[in-house]
């Protein structure tokens, strides 16, 4: 658990953080979102003491982070940044192994961990001996995620980690990360300015502006109360449509199948169809046609919008 209390940081006369309070529960993925300069990166970087706040405190598992030497603290917290920052003179293996090595893990344990992580992120084993310049942007980013996860930290800080890759690769790596997070249940603080990325990955979203958190809630709840003018304009009036990405057709039909159709894709199908219906095949083989009412009915069933 991370608890941030009354955190203040000024750069000259610019307020990056203005008495910020935030509690992040164990195993939750919290996405900090907002325009450039809203203080989201500063907030993230004050968790591993990359930024020294002017006042206020950060507690990790109810321990003030000032009680740890910065290096010790940072080795316990995974760190992943936009430009990846892979070490160009190290191989993929050495890049991933760097934190476990500092923590003096045994060679066998490191090797096992690297294998596990490369498998988890979908990197082929042959890549171990490659150098970063031989990797594509998406592959480098996966190695960056592996490096952040290497010492099995409970907390993961990610500062626009997928910002520099092309849109196609980004969707793939986001989905991969979402699955990894489902499996590993890390406490993740994730900075982005991309609303769709936030909707897809977040357990909770914190919308920031001028060093303040204007709203902090689950992605679904944000749709219900966007009373704050800025939040509404930043998330967009079409936010409920973006939100559809989080839901899968299986959720709607309340069944298990390997259909990968998300509800925004279903909506697209309905818009395309002349009578507004999309016919799908159920897991048991029977066919069913879905209409817009089915969608709204599902979404308002338990206030899920």
């Amino acid at each position: 658990m991370i608890r941030i209390a009354q955190l203040v940081k000024n750069y000259g006369n610019i307020t990056a953080l203005d008495r910020v309070d935030l509690t992040i529960e164990e195993g939750e993925c919290v996405v900090l979102i907002g325009p450039s300069g809203c203080g989201k990166s500063t907030l993230l970087r004050s968790i591993n003491r990359m930024v020294q706040p002017d006042s206020g405190s950060v507690y990790v598992d109810e321990q003030d982070i000032l009680n740890y030497p910065p290096e010790t603290l940072r080795r316990k917290i995974g760190y992943c940044i936009q430009n990846v920052g892979l070490f160009p003179h190290y191989t993929v293996y050495e890049n991933i192994a760097v934190v476990p090595k500092m923590l003096k893990w045994s060679k066998a344990k490191i090797e096992e961990r690297v294998d596990f992580l490369m498998d988890l992120t979908g990197l082929p084993k042959e890549y171990k001996t490659k150098k970063p310049h031989e990797l594509s942007g998406g592959e480098a980013q996966r190695v960056g995620v592996c490096r952040a996860l290497a010492a099995d930290p409970d907390i993961l800080l990610m500062d626009e980690p997928f910002g520099a890759v092309d849109p196609m690769t980004r969707v793939k790596i986001q989905t991969a990360f979402r699955n990894i997070q489902k499996e590993l249940k890390k406490t993740v603080v994730f900075v982005t300015h991309d609303v769709e990325e936030a909707v897809l990955l977040a357990d909770k979203i914190a919308v920031m502006q001028n060093g303040k958190i204007l709203g902090y809630d689950t992605p679904s709840n944000f749709a219900l109360h966007m009373e704050e003018e800025f939040v509404r304009s930043f998330l967009g009036v079409d936010y409920p449509v973006k939100l559809l990405k989080r839901h899968n057709i299986d959720d709607l039909l309340n069944q298990e199948s390997d259909s990968k159709l998300t509800l925004n894709e279903l909506l697209a199908g309905m818009l395309e169809s002349p009578n507004g219906g999309v016919t799908i095949q159920n897991a048991n083989g029977s066919k069913q046609t879905l209409y817009f009412e089915d969608l709204t009915h599902y979404l308002h069933k338990d206030d899920q919008v």
């Binding site: 760190y79 940044i81 920052g85 070490f87």
Partner: protein, 236 residues
Amino acid sequence: MIRRKFRIDLMLTFYFIALLLWVFGFESFKGTLASLLGSGIGLVSRTSLPVLTWQHIQLVALASSAAILVSLLLGMIVHLTRNEEAESLVMKLGSILETIPSAAVIALSIPLFGYGNGPVLMALWVYAILPILRNTIVGLQSINPSIQDAATGIGMSPLQRLLKIEMPLARPMILAGIKTALVINISLATIGATVGAGGLGVPIIAGIRSYDPLLVLQGSIAVILMALLTERALRS
């Protein structure tokens, strides 16, 4: 990349063989050269060319190693202070040292070290510092900030970051500085003969004093070949 490492460098081999031939074969073909240049062979210096070459190498190696040691340490310390003022101050100091004429450095250090190798070593050391120090500082400064951020963020101490990440990445730049320093020193070491130091400057100075082109050639060719060899060996 690996293949390139093991491939025999033709130019390097050529310079090396040429240098060996000149240094060890000079005695056997000096007669021919003397008749071509119209100078007398009797005037050839008393110390043999291999010995002079060895003295020359010793002078350059000693002064350059001391300069490498000091510049690297100073460069790393300045970098660790993370103080831009300190960095520019050190660079300025280095540039000022470089502007002092070499003859002046040698003359000024005679009272300290007396005649012989001392003043020359001092001059060579002073001149080798700037290129190495400048390249160390610039090399460390020009590392991609996100690599530095990542190194700090995953929990490296400033010293770990310097030794494991920054120094290896600045290495090509530092090597270029060392190369420049060595090439400067190889030619500069010749003026040592004016204050009684050994080395390849001895025949050159003697040749100038006695109007003997063969003597000048004897030292100069060896110096040129040595400089070319070094340049080639340390090229990136």
